[in-house]
Symmetry: C2
Subunit: 343 residues, 2 copies
DNA sequence: GGCTAGAATGACAGCGCTATCATTAGATGA
DNA sequence: TCATCTAATGATAGCGCTGTCATTCTAGCC
């Protein structure tokens, strides 16, 4: 094991007291240049690295940004994580994350665990915390950012977008392109997914094209294979379906493959729209329409808001709406005979 | 902020000394049942949660498993992470991870940072550490597991497979299926990728079908779009190419889409084989051959080895080879006229 | 009854760092 | 020249917990 070098040893070597070394490290402008140079030299020679546990104990807070996400294997959340990492790259903060497995109870427990560490900030996915979790967060002494989604009642700050409105816009797009019998494919109907469904439903009803029986969902997590199965099931019941709004891109890709297997032309006989705009959507054949949900930026902005707050700068509006955007591609060019998409 | 409850307060409430509470929490069998009950009640009433920083400082070690991975946005590593999480779910250990961005220098630095915390164990991706990193790891006082890959010279323990052999097996599969002019598509040629290429090359040469000019690589990270571009470039130069071994599944999927765009029948005119067997491969149309690399299990086993070691149990062999397996699917059924794949 | 062994509990110190207040040295002005 | 102020540094205590003894108590034995 690398032998532990303590502050005291550095201090002895530099010929100053430990507290001066501590100061030199944390607020270099408060020690004389010459002293600081001696200390820096001693630090370098001994390979000193501060003990984060001792620091946390002495200061009563940890230089940690806690992050709570439902899953590590879902690209949506890892993109956010990546943005968080990027935003923290040049800072003294560490990221510490935990996985809720989409379970509010687990989330509640983990919030408690995190807050006892007195983190510098907390980033949490979504707006569907339990009442108890909400109370914990309300009393948190650090900045809290809810990401992925916006809502009316932030704990503290929020970065996201409206899943309802994004899904509604995607549905409107399908209608605008001439599809009249759209269906909905959904997996793991968590609260965000439910709100997307609500957006789909509202817009489809407004357009007079909603049919509850053209909704095909499953409780299992999304997957490409699952998208294929859902489409097959839906078309089995409703062969007249002329478009599907998919809960997410994996389902959309699966739907595309299944349509190929079934010999159904996309977009001529079936329009397909996904959600999240993973990279593959642009590259597919035909290219797949999706909804861009600036996930990386969500993470980066969440971190920026926390840092601004900690530094006493203005973190900007408490609710930051990163607006999802429809990326219209060939998979929704419209039923055979309709005009193609511009661009 | 949830008010901090200390051991001392719990002790006062239970009418015992702090140290007894500490013992009751950590080794319940060393305090009398009745005392323990009083303490448990006090803990519950006050909502006490131990301060990990104080514990780390007092014991000189942290109940943390450090994990170093190159990227969070690559599904390959998040699958491993997921396995790690699962293996640690019922334990007292936390996971703390850091991202090396595929940079050995960053990795070296992060190893140092982690080891100062005296973690309970360390899991690190790959076998390509710098000399300095290697020296740090050799002196580490905790179990170290290298994952993703096996090699001749473990720091401590290893769980993985031979990328060279897996790629060679995949290449053999292509040859067995009747492909005679195979190409190689690769992105971000990191050491593991290089070894996969070496395996491809060795086997293709052994089969007398290697042509260095049918190798198409790029430095940018893998993507589906990148796979499409690589295939287009390769076929531009070598239209006679009858199969591609792709560095990973994203490239393979992109190659499939590009083949569709170019009107090239898969597998009849072009065989496609990926690497990693992400979920979509099975669901694609045609289904895509890939190499299963038990990533989740790698994480789970790495954790199990560490836990066994910490508990004084037998962690099993120092080098655990999880054998990659070819999953033959329709995309490599063979050139037109050849027999189809069984099952 | 006196003694010992073992179980249960407690006192004390200290992990490495920093908050707080105290001290010193040098600069300023009448 | 001396009081006064500021900048730089130091002494002290303590963050919440646990390792290491020491102490108390009970049971068992001759």
């Amino acid at each position: 094991m690398a032998k532990r070098v303590t502050l005291a040893e550095v201090a002895a070597r530099a010929g100053v007291s430990p507290i001066t070394v501590s100061r030199a490290l944390r607020r270099p402008d408060t020690v004389q240049a010459e002293t600081r140079a001696r200390i820096d030299a001693a630090v370098a020679e001994l390979g000193y690295v501060p003990d984060p546990a001792a620091r946390a104990l002495a200061t009563g807070r940890a230089d940690v940004i806690g992050v709570l996400i439902p899953s590590v294997t879902n690209a949506v959340f890892t993109d956010v994580l990546s943005g968080i990492y990027d935003g923290l790259a040049d800072s003294r903060f560490d990221v510490q994350y935990a996985i809720t497995r989409y379970d509010p109870g687990t989330e509640e427990k983990l919030i408690g665990v995190f807050l006892r560490q007195r983190p510098a900030g907390l980033i949490i996915s979504g707006i569907d915390q339990t009442d108890a979790a909400r109370r914990l967060l309300d009393r948190a002494s650090c900045p809290v950012v809810q990401v992925m989604e916006t809502g009316p009642d932030p704990v503290d700050m929020m970065v996201g977008f409206s899943h309802h409105d994004a899904a509604a816009a995607a549905t409107r797009h399908l209608i605008d392109r001439g599809y009249r019998r759209p269906g909905f494919l959904g997996a793991r109907m968590d609260p965000r997914t439910q709100r997307r469904f609500a957006g789909f439903r509202a817009e489809a009803e407004a357009g007079g094209v909603f049919d509850l029986d053209r909704v095909e969902t499953t409780e299992v997590p999304s997957s490409v294979g699952g998208g294929a199965e859902l489409l097959r099931a839906l078309l089995g019941r409703h062969p007249e379906t002329d478009a599907v709004f998919c809960n997410n891109d994996d389902l959309a890709l699966g739907a595309l493959f299944e349509a190929m297997r079934m010999g159904i032309p996309v977009p001529g006989q079936l329009g397909i729209c996904g959600f999240n705009d993973l990279e593959m959507m642009r590259a597919a054949e035909p290219s797949l329409t999706s909804v861009r949900t600036n996930r990386f930026e969500m993470g980066a902005r969440a971190v920026e808001m926390i840092r601004a707050r900690l530094d006493g700068r203005d973190p900007g509006p408490a609710i930051l709406d990163l607006k999802a955007e429809i990326l219209a591609r060939r998979s929704t060019d419209g039923p055979t005979g309709n005009r193609p998409v511009e661009t």
